[in-house]
Assembly symmetry: C2
Homo-oligomer: 651 residues x 2
């Protein structure tokens, strides 16, 4: 694809982008503010820009006069890149040149790390947990009429030096007819023990040679969504992946409401059946899409938080939500998937990721195993942020973990106009430093409906840096803009006036919303602080951050540091792994090394209950500022704030 | 109980017996022949005897004239011992005194050996496979909120030095509520591994202290009958025992017809369901009779022949009955009993006795384990005789085994008037050496209906020793008795004329019947011979015989040696163990030592297929005589035959 060079005037900022990209997002990416109140739907006409050189595609609108069009004006939100161009952004306010460098900071998202099967192999970490072996057994005769099972086992001993083999009764049941139907030429599936002194289970026997068809399933059993991958055990490739909302949502959005439901009548059984129902739906899709036969699937590796795990196994979760928060177990033995209703063949072995505690579950452990952070030198902060935030800090020598309730702010909850990251959610934002006109970009480029979590972080960060709000999240009442106003006794900033929204009402962000965000980020940050302090480390020693879960993918790292959600670190040292639970499940499907290590890792993961750690409250109170009481912990934020302050005082 | 001394004249034989015993059986026991044709029902009046001193109870009959009664005549079959007495048996024939010592040889049955739990303990062979432990766990608090499973395991580690513990998911499911309902005071059931490096399974958890209630079930899955014992694991006692006919009988009497049925349609599933149905019926009876709670039953140990074992597990038995006679497996892993439909709690672990081959099954191995012969010096012949006879020979150093088809003669099959050992079956017999009048005693003391296996052996032995038949089973046509006759071209001996029978027909034993018995005993004896020869031993080296199965209990050992079924050996060296399968299952329920040993024992048991052993035919042909071509192998028989011969020539 050929790249086009776009230069924005008067800022003299250039950027290379692909043809077809949206002009307004190109501007944002280049760090250029363009007023935009309608989310990019083309109705506010605030995003007028003038094409000075080159050309763009589209961008015409009846909101532009023929003269304007003639003069090269286009709506930036409608225009698409079609080649090199120079674009002039109208600047309503007088400004000096220094402002040109103090514009929007382009969003810096985390580097995405994907699972790398080959490097796993290279590093000698590949110990296949499942192997298929094709055997041509000598048929029995009068001189050699040993039992079928003995024949099979002795042959494997002799030919492949296999020991400690065990067949389950269902396999023994199939053995006589399959051996004889195909002249004693068969393929066996060997499921390796995790412990070296364990037994190798022969879980399946098939006629002929099926060694090229060996598959496993990795499954993330999330509170909200169920994701599954169908994995080719030979190549490590994911042949199909799909997900669906966990059907349990009908019985409660979060783990707490599910636990409450489970305690009533046959609630537990209902929840168990429901989640298995969703799992079966997702598995059905990926299996048929990949065109794989059920018979050739050997294992399913599952990871979920402690509540989801107990619900999946129909284990009463009552004591998870009551002090002192005791899980039934953190380790489960392998079992046959069919026994809990999963629609896989009888021979399929299910493995469940072990957990650490009631609130640091198998999904987090899976993430730790998937990223391999437990094998590395670097001091790493692993964060999975949702309604609950799970925090793991450590490296190959030690691991500490905890969980805290962040509240729903990061998912748009508890925010008046908050919403999930769906169509119409304001997901990107900048502010004109003089006029305080916003640049709003929404998911789907439609008029705004609300604000999603990552948008909220950007807004609060931008407003803080520009001095629109102070470090306690209060609006600067002195600013000359009608957007800041008091409404029913609460101060707020109007992001979009009613005529520019989908909801027929002004969309605002209030001091209450900001306070909720501060509480959420404060909980996470002080959780990290507490954990570090407990093990004798400090925040500035963090060398790397790994973000897991949906939340981390779009987050603007600089802004997250500005509000004090993340410690200040080179954004290049922040990695996003997406669904860590699924990643870990996939890794375990592929190598027993991970399954061996996980036992040690969970033992090594020291769990801290924040409610039982007295310093947590102090850290929390200190984190109730933007970015923090001690802004010295955030030198770059301090620098940017001071630069804006200097600029503002000059205007 | 006081004993009475009974003296029989003219033989001058005395015997001490209990009051209430039958007079005629007392005579038999004393080795005194009394004519008796109606089986002891009191209708033939042949059993008249005269009470000369003392008195007997009952024995009056309208078949006796008032004068006879006055003179002290009584029917021996109706009379009961009530004190010391002298009884004269009328002797119709002239005889010299030497005959008095050549009368009936009283029946010598095998010494019954019962399982001896205490000696097992004394000999250090008691390694409990199941233990219950009562634990008072410290309840969780904020400082110690480890998972329930971890709490339990750590406590067991610390308090009882338990290691390698594993809980199944169903137990984990129960754990949280049971722990909390009873203040963390619980009883766990620990099922020990057979291999020292295996895991101890925690299969159950119960509130409070239930350590005094630990039970197991031993089960014999026989082709004809299912027997079960409920065993107290603390005392080793059998609290209840019961049996029932295997419901599979409706689908075929023997293993071959069952196998054929299993091959048709859903025959296999039908047979599986049916045998489990019988098992559940029997278990229901013993559990309710013993008043034991299902929850406190920890294991069920089962033994059956190879066919019954495969049918129980729904494993196609087709290849068991077809050359080269290959079982699916001879070892099965432990499994949960409920998975095959057995009506026991989900936690109950089922263990199946391993087999050696298609025709030497787990029932035989159980017998070997139950008797402990594999631990002893003595060279022992273990025999389980039915339609098939299983033979094991050996001691602690080596074991050889085989199976042969004996045919149904020992169970009364293939014998014109043959019947099972049920009411009306002639079970004991002697013959007047001059008049050839028989003494017939039937099961239940009723008029005869037929002949059971043990009766048949006695008849043939008695007739052979007296020269009524020769060593090829042919009648001496020269004898002066109407009882020997030709009927439809076949020579036969009339045991009871029609008016003395229940069936309105003469009951006879023919040369064809005798030939069938000779074939049956020949098969068994030559099987033993072949086995011994293959391992370089000979019959006279046998130091001990163990008889298992129903057949052995009533067998007259001397007679069995006379016909050449058993080698000649001191009858005191013959032991009857009854249901060896059940005995072995019970032993395994009580000590893991047996479970450990059985793996080695089955490996050590060298199986011989007689059809593949050329010498078998020669031995078989040589054994087709009474007692054998080489009568020198049976010196005592030879002696008796010669004594009778001398006597006969004198008369
Ligand atoms: S018209 Fe372009 S953002 Fe509103
Ligand atoms: S009357 Fe006594 S045996 Fe017949």
């Amino acid at each position: 694809m050929s790249l086009s060079r776009i230069t924005f005037l008067p800022y003299q900022r250039s950027i290379e982008v692909s043809e077809g990209d949206s002009l307004i997002r190109t501007a944002l990416h280049a760090g250029v503010h363009i007023n935009a109140s309608c989310g990019g739907e083309g109705v506010c006409a605030k995003c007028r820009v003038q094409v000075e050189q080159g050309d763009v595609a589209e961008g015409l609108s009846e909101r532009l006069s023929p003269e304007d069009i003639e003069a090269g004006y286009r709506l930036a939100c409608q225009a698409k890149i079609k080649g090199d161009a120079t674009i002039r952004v109208p600047v309503e306010s007088a400004m000096d040149r220094s402002m040109f460098d103090q514009q929007v900071h382009p969003r810096q998202t985390a580097r995405i790390q994907q699972m790398d099967f080959d490097s796993l192999k290279e590093r000698g970490l590949f110990i296949p947990p499942v192997e298929k072996a094709y055997l041509e057994l000598p048929p029995p005769d009068a001189q050699n009429n040993m039992p079928d099972v003995t024949r099979l086992i002795e042959f494997l001993k002799l030919q492949s030096d296999e020991h400690k083999l065990e067949l389950t009764i269902p396999v023994i049941r199939k053995l006589p007819s399959i051996l004889r139907a195909h002249d004693f030429k068969v393929t066996v599936t060997l499921v390796r023990p995790v412990r070296d002194d364990g037994k190798t289970l022969i879980t399946n026997i098939q006629p002929g040679d099926t060694t090229d068809q060996a598959y496993a399933i990795a499954l993330d059993v999330g509170t909200t969504t169920i994701y599954a991958q169908l994995i080719d055990l030979k190549s490590g490739a994911s042949l199909a992946e799909d997900g669906d909302f966990n059907g349990q949502i009908s019985y409660g959005e979060d783990v707490i409401s599910r636990m409450i439901f489970a305690e009533k009548g046959d609630g537990l059984e209902t929840l168990q059946r429901t989640v298995v129902g969703t799992i079966n739906k997702v598995l059905g899709k990926i299996i048929s899409r990949a065109g794989v036969e059920h018979e050739n699937i050997a294992t399913i590796t599952m990871a979920g938080n402690t509540t989801m795990t107990q619900l999946l196994l129909a284990i009463d979760p009552s004591y998870l939500r009551r002090a002192p928060y005791v899980p039934a177990s953190t380790m489960y033995p392998p079992f046959r998937a069919a026994t809990i209703g999963i629609d896989l063949d009888e021979h399929v072995i299910a493995l469940l990721y072990p957990a650490v505690s009631s609130y640091v579950g198998g999904d987090i452990v899976a993430g730790i195993m998937g990223t391999g952070l437990y094998r590395e030198e670097e001091l790493t902060l692993f964060l999975d942020i949702g309604t609950n935030a799970e925090i793991v800090i450590g490296n190959k020598d030690w691991l500490a973990c905890t969980a805290c309730s962040a509240g729903p702010a990061f998912e748009g909850g508890g925010i008046e106009f908050g919403m999930r990251a769906a169509k119409g959610a304001i997901e990107d934002f900048s502010l004109d430093s003089v006029t305080f006109e916003p640049m709003l970009l929404t998911i789907g480029d439609v008029r705004p409906k609300g604000i999603c979590g990552s948008g909220l972080i950007i807004m609060v960060a931008v407003m803080f840096e520009m001095g629109v709000i102070n470090n306690r999240g209060k609006f600067n009442r002195d600013l000359d803009t009608e957007r800041i106003r008091e409404h029913n006794g609460v101060w707020e900033f109007v992001l979009a006036f009613e005529d520019q929204t989908q909801i027929g009402r002004d969309i605002t962000i209030s001091e209450i919303d900001i306070d909720n965000l501060i509480r959420a980020k404060g909980a996470v940050y002080s959780g990290c602080m507490t954990l570090l302090e407990e093990v004798g480390f400090s925040m500035d020693m963090i060398e790397r951050i790994i973000l897991a879960g949906g939340f981390g993918s779009y987050i603007d790292l600089e802004k997250a540091m500005t509000i004090g959600l993340l410690p200040e670190i080179d954004p290049a040292r922040v990695i996003f792994i997406g669904n860590g639970s699924l990643m870990g499940a996939r890794m375990s499907s592929l190598t027993n090394r991970i399954r061996k290590d996980v036992v040690e890792v969970t033992k090594k993961m020291t769990n801290f209950e924040l409610s039982e750690t007295p310093s947590y409250m102090d850290h929390y109170v200190a984190a109730m500022f933007i970015p923090h009481t001690e802004i010295e912990k955030f030198p770059k934020v301090k620098e940017r704030v001071e630069a804006w302050k200097a600029l503002a005082s000059r205007n």
